[in-house]
């Protein structure tokens, strides 16, 4: 085979099982691709020796006809997942040289099933960002370029390393996390598939915490089938995370071909926001037509509290972040800057260790949780959150999944939005509602912008109904037949 990196996760799995290729060959092809794509800055720490060692172990198992569901398949890991003995920093200066003595549950599950780790992927610092520009290791460059110019574009965020690496074929698939859209928006910006499962479907143990009531792990992959395979391995109950849910993990891949005949697809009217680009609106309309043609029933639904989702999110998420990030004190791990006394040491360490977006969110969070303001901000936001969840519950009385755009625009240029936090926050307008309500959501590449950039459509499912969600996503993917790829300009 000429270029092994062209295989999808499912394709590579089948080729390995049939002994047409070896894991060492496949892994070596990825190591070469990673080496040729350093300019994209997708990996913050390649783990070449470990990858080859894991690949050799997989080949030995495969030779004996053994091995798990992901045996010998090379993956990238977002730097938010603790990996035993391998530096994990959440792309923050404050976690410089942190080497976890333990493995996150999600990555443990992947290694249990035989996957190979290629390295740690870049992300926004502590996953706070929508463009991967807040990383201490610098921005990730989107492999996609506009037709009209060579401007360097963002790959979305916070899982920008994951989305860029999957789109540029620097790994078969990647782990990612999503607090307000951090899996789905980067997937939309790079022509990849990203699924955020139901809150509690994947264990959060060993994932660097941002906003614990919203954070969920999920995969970014090349197609819907690969997403089903990855999620099946990542998901599951874990007694180390009391919010993970003890229910069986279905065979997600098995449901994909079942079609959408009779499925009721809700179209939330409040998602037609002011100022949405015409081509996003047109793509959404095409998506509706595709699903209708595939036999789905289209239903108009209302989610009246949608307008308040973003402000709610920007109270809840910083509040939880400010308390989660209190642990970075210069005592137990990470950076320490000496001071005249212990308080001075804390303050200098945290001033030097946190970037400006993280600092901004800690300050907002500290403010809204402080005495006299708690009821007005945090409690109020949690009440609005109840209303947002109620909206969805009401909508699901008349439909089975919802269809919306993933993001309000295509990928933008590096530096274009970083000066204005509010315009950056608006990227998450269609995705945050899903986190606030704890629901599963998936982004599927559905078309190109007039400037040749990928655009995504989002499907939102019922709690723990990833099967229906993936089934609908598979039908949407088939209808969209998205086959465009970025030119490999970085290899020149």
């Amino acid at each position: 085979m000429s270029d092994l990196t062209k295989l999808t996760l499912a394709g590579a799995r089948d080729a390995l099982k049939a002994k047409e290729i070896s894991s060492v060959e496949l892994t070596t092809a990825y190591i070469e691709a990673m080496d040729a794509a350093k300019v994209l800055n997708a990996y913050v720490l390649p783990t070449v020796d470990k990858a080859l060692e894991m690949a050799r172990a997989s080949d030995a198992k495969l030779a004996k006809g053994e091995g798990g569901a992901l045996e010998g398949l090379p993956l990238g890991v977002k730097d938010l997942f603790a990996t035993k003995g391998v530096r994990t920093t959440a792309c923050s200066h404050i976690l410089d040289n942190f080497i976890p003595p333990y493995e996150s549950t999600v990555t443990s599950n992947l290694w249990r099933d035989g996957a190979v780790m290629l390295g740690k992927l870049n992300n926004d610092e502590f996953a706070m960002g929508s463009s991967n520009e807040t990383s201490y290791y610098g921005p990730v460059i989107n492999p996609w370029r506009r037709k009209s110019d060579d401007a360097r574009l963002v790959p979305g965020g916070s899982s920008g390393g994951s989305s860029a690496a999957v789109a540029a074929k620097l790994c078969l698939a990647a782990t990612a996390t999503d607090t307000g859209g951090s899996i789905r928006q980067p997937a939309a910006f790079t022509g990849t598939v990203g699924i955020k499962p139901t809150y509690g479907r994947c264990s959060r143990w060993g994932v660097v915490a941002f906003a614990s009531s919203l954070d969920q792990a999920g995969p970014i992959t090349r197609d819907v089938r690969d997403a089903a395979i990855m999620l099946g391995s990542m998901a599951g109950y874990d007694d180390k995370d009391s919010t993970s849910v003890d229910r069986p993990v279905p065979d997600y891949e098995a449901v994909l071909g079942r079609g959408v005949k009779g499925l009721r697809v809700g179209i939330p009217r409040e998602y037609r926001v002011d100022g949405m680009p015409a081509e996003i609106d047109a793509l959404w309309t095409r998506g509706i037509e595709w699903l209708k043609a595939a036999g789905a029933e289209i239903v108009d639904v209302s989610l009246p509290t949608t307008k308040y989702a973003l402000p709610t999110y920007y109270i809840v998420a910083p509040a939880e972040a400010s308390s989660n990030l209190a642990r970075y004190d210069g005592v137990r791990y990470g950076l320490r800057v000496e001071g005249s006394d212990i308080t001075d040491m804390y303050e200098k360490t945290r001033a030097a260790g946190f970037g400006s977006e993280v600092r901004r969110r800690i300050l907002i969070g500290t403010y809204v949780l402080s005495a006299g303001y708690y009821d007005a901000y945090y409690l109020k936001a949690q009440k609005v959150r109840t209303l947002i969840a109620r909206d969805f519950a009401e909508a699901y009385k008349s439909c089975d999944v919802l269809l919306t755009p993933t993001a309000p625009s295509a990928a933008f240029a590096i530096g274009e939005k970083s000066a204005d936090p509010l315009s950056m926050y608006l990227n998450d307008v269609f995705t945050v509602t899903v986190n606030l309500a704890g629901l599963p959501g998936i982004s599927v590449p559905a078309g190109l912008s007039s400037d040749g950039l990928p655009l995504g459509l989002q499907l939102i499912g019922r709690t723990f109904d990833e099967e229906t969600l993936l089934r609908a996503a598979f039908a949407l993917e088939e209808a969209a037949a998205f086959s465009a790829e970025p030119t490999t300009w970085w290899k020149a």
């Binding site: 919010t243 989660n324 791990y333 804390y346 708690y374 007005a376 209303l387 969840a389 986190n435 606030l436």
Partner: protein
């Protein structure tokens, strides 16, 4: 009163509550714009050193975000319970037994400064 958020796995830095109480007396729960003194106090609560020349820009940023979230005031939340769990599930109970331990070396392995299995911090008590 400062109330810990129900989701957090980690409480705020030790003396946050005391600083909060003194803060409360000056601002009786009315939403108002953040001035530079307030930014300095919040930064102190968050244990992040902020230079005086950074205060005006930070106050501006925080105000624009707080002005924007103020729109939640339009939503009628009378008789609405605050969300306490993203997904309706019953918390599982486990046996109250020791399942792990004796990891002193692992626990202190990443400490910037440690000695004999203890963390070393600047002198706290004179």
């Amino acid at each position: 009163m400062f109330r810990p958020n129900p989701y957090m796995g980690q409480v705020c830095l030790a003396d946050l509550r005391l600083v909060c109480l003194s803060f409360q007396n000056q601002n009786k729960g009315t939403l108002m714009s953040v001035d530079q003194d307030t930014v300095r106090r919040i930064a102190r609560l968050a244990r992040i050193a902020v230079r005086d020349d950074e205060l005006p820009a930070l106050a501006g940023e925080l105000n624009s975000i707080l002005d924007w979230v103020e729109q939640l005031g339009e939503v009628d939340t009378n008789d609405v319970e605050p969300m306490t769990s993203a997904v309706a599930v019953t918390m599982k109970m486990r046996e109250d037994v020791i399942t792990s331990g004796n990891h002193q070396k692992d626990v202190t392995a990443n400490a910037p400064q440690s000695e004999d299995g203890f963390y070393v911090v600047p002198r706290v008590v004179e």
